[in-house]
Amino acid sequence: MTILAVPEAPSAAEPEPAARRPVRPRRKLVLHLAVVALMIIWVTPTLGLLVSSFRPQSVLSKSGWWTAFAPPYHFTLENYQGVLEQSGIGQAFINSLFIAIPATVIPLFVAAFAAYAFSWMEFWGRDVLFVVVVGLLVVPLQTTLIPVLKAFADWGLTGQFLAVWLAHTGYGLPFAVYLLRNFMGSLPRSVFESASLDGANHVVSFFRIAVPMSVPAFAALAIFQFLFVWNDLLVALIYIGLSNSDNLPMTAAMANLVNSLGGGWYLLGAAAFLSMILPLAVFFGLQRYFVRGIVGGAVKG
């Protein structure tokens, strides 16, 4: 994704105390109808699948999910049991965790040191180099797949988790460095100067000042990178997919289930919701940080 020129914006999770503009009653009704209609349109697809995921296979193909709200009520946990037992989705869930956690931690550290150097050290070519990083934000993954795949194949890394950990670190870095540099660069200079006068070197300044003061940025970045990796299909498909399907994450396992046309389709709803549990938990629990990651500086892709 690209850079965003939105300075210090309030987060979306903070409600405004009251409507800011005077609106006449008639118009007010139209306004409420429009907003509520949009909310219904947006929530219906997810709600439909959620209801479907609890309906038995026998009725799924005969009636729509909305009929579930009228008697006779048919609800069951069979689909969730089925997904966990037979389709390998349980293993894929664990794989996703194995992939996403290291692939979030590694770039965070690599980027933190680079961002500090870009913010608080003077060196020849600094600004040019940082502009290159900004340019790399938009390089499409697709351009890099073939040479990296060949290198991984030569080293016997394809199919290994290590391959995706490294790849996600590389692909996530431009955004990580950019976001952290924006945040660290805006910390007050005086703090670093007085620390330096007290005899602190850069290592001390980094661990005692820059890192503790940048915790909100680290949180936003961690959430963003975690969701990006958890939701990724392409990187996993290319670097793991062909050689070792046992290591595939949720997204790839689900894509296989969709394409397989055969018996498993009634499991899809349950599988999709299992894959959404973590992102939704992150979303509802840490929405403020998530929003800050998007608004406060940059976005990636």
């Binding site: 690209t2 965003l4 979306a12 999770a13 697809p45 931690v105 040191f113 680079a114 590389g170 929003v291």
Partner: protein
């Protein structure tokens, strides 16, 4: 599984430990050198690991892909073919179809996400349940495109006429006597492409809304009040004051959406795999790679994608420089 867990734990703890030891150790090492020298070397030690990753995963492969696009299919003895792969791309019917589809994606995904995002941002600014409304619109962005694909597969479900429709959309249009339509199986008028675009609009409108909404709240209310005092009605205030002030934000959101639309892959791969005239550039590339094993053509497709993005990269850098000079 047990050994995987051990590896993962080792990586999560080990990599940060090694990095910290590296920074700390090199600092000790260069402290032996004179101050002048230290100042010059230290920054490169700090950005070194990042540069290594960026070089290996982004810069080097991009250059290799550009070179590879000039060579033929065979991987063992690549033969120089000049621009043949690009000639194929611009003359082959499938490839041109994919290109046209990507243009549709670019225009309509950008238009709808930014348009609806702006509309929602302005509307919810005036209601008390703003936080709720935003959460609901924003939520699809947190889930994977594959999960979104599954969600919409159920929305678009098609049953032959005369049978009870289980897909939400076909049931809905059935109540007014229309359809049923095979949303994902209709090449005519590119219905399937638009059905796929609609899914991405559902996912990405929240993104546009969040950013536009943040910019909207950054506008000084006194400015709007002044316009009202001067006798402007709400529409005029929006047209003449709010909209121009949102200009830079809308431009930036649009570039993000353009890049997203150019890179579209997951949704197409999951739901139609390019059938029914829904193929896009990224999916075409994967097909050339794995179905036809033609790395030359696949590289050429990737280069076309990159070329399409270069102007946006230039715009980004200009935007960034302008921002920096304000700092």
């Amino acid at each position: 599984m047990g050994s995987q867990l051990i590896t993962a734990v080792m990586v999560v703890v080990g990599v940060p430990a090694v990095l910290i030891a590296y920074i700390w150790g090199t600092e000790r090492l260069i402290s032996l050198a004179p101050e002048q020298w230290r100042r010059r070397v230290r920054p490169w030690l700090w950005i070194g690991p990042a540069l290594g990753f960026l070089g290996f995963f982004l810069v080097y492969p991009t250059i290799r892909t550009i070179i590879r696009s000039l060579y033929g299919k065979s991987e063992l003895k690549p033969k120089f073919v000049g621009l043949d792969n690009f000639r194929w791309f611009f003359t082959n019917a499938d490839a041109r179809g994919a290109l046209l589809d990507n243009v549709l994606w670019l225009v309509f995904l950008t238009l709808f996400t930014v348009g609806i995002g702006l509309l929602v941002a302005v509307l919810v600014d005036r209601v008390r349940y703003e936080a709720w409304a935003k959460s609901i619109i924003f939520l699809p962005l947190a889930i994977s495109m594959v999960a979104a694909g599954v969600i919409w597969k159920f929305m678009y479900d098609y049953k032959p006429p005369g049978v009870a429709q289980t897909g939400t959309l076909n049931a809905a249009i059935g109540t007014v006597g229309l359809g049923p339509i095979g949303w994902l199986q209709s090449p005519a008028f590119r219905v399937s492409t638009f059905a796929l675009i609609a899914i991405m609009v559902w996912m990405w409108t929240g993104f546009a809304m969040i950013i536009i909404s943040a910019a909207l709240k950054g506008i000084d209310p006194e400015l709007l009040e002044a316009a009202r005092v001067d006798g402007a009605n709400e529409w005029q205030v929006f047209r003449k004051v709010t909209f121009p002030l949102l200009g830079p934000t809308l431009a930036v959101v649009s570039t993000t959406m353009i890049i997203t639309s150019l890179k579209t892959f997951d949704i197409v791969y999951t739901l139609t795999n390019g059938n029914y005239d829904t193929d896009v550039i990224a999916n075409l590339m994967i097909k050339q790679m794995f179905t036809f094993g033609d790395f030359g053509r696949a590289s050429a497709v990737a280069v076309v994608l990159l070329l399409a993005i270069v102007p946006i990269m230039a715009f980004n850098i200009r935007q960034f420089r302008a921002q920096e000079s304000v700092r």
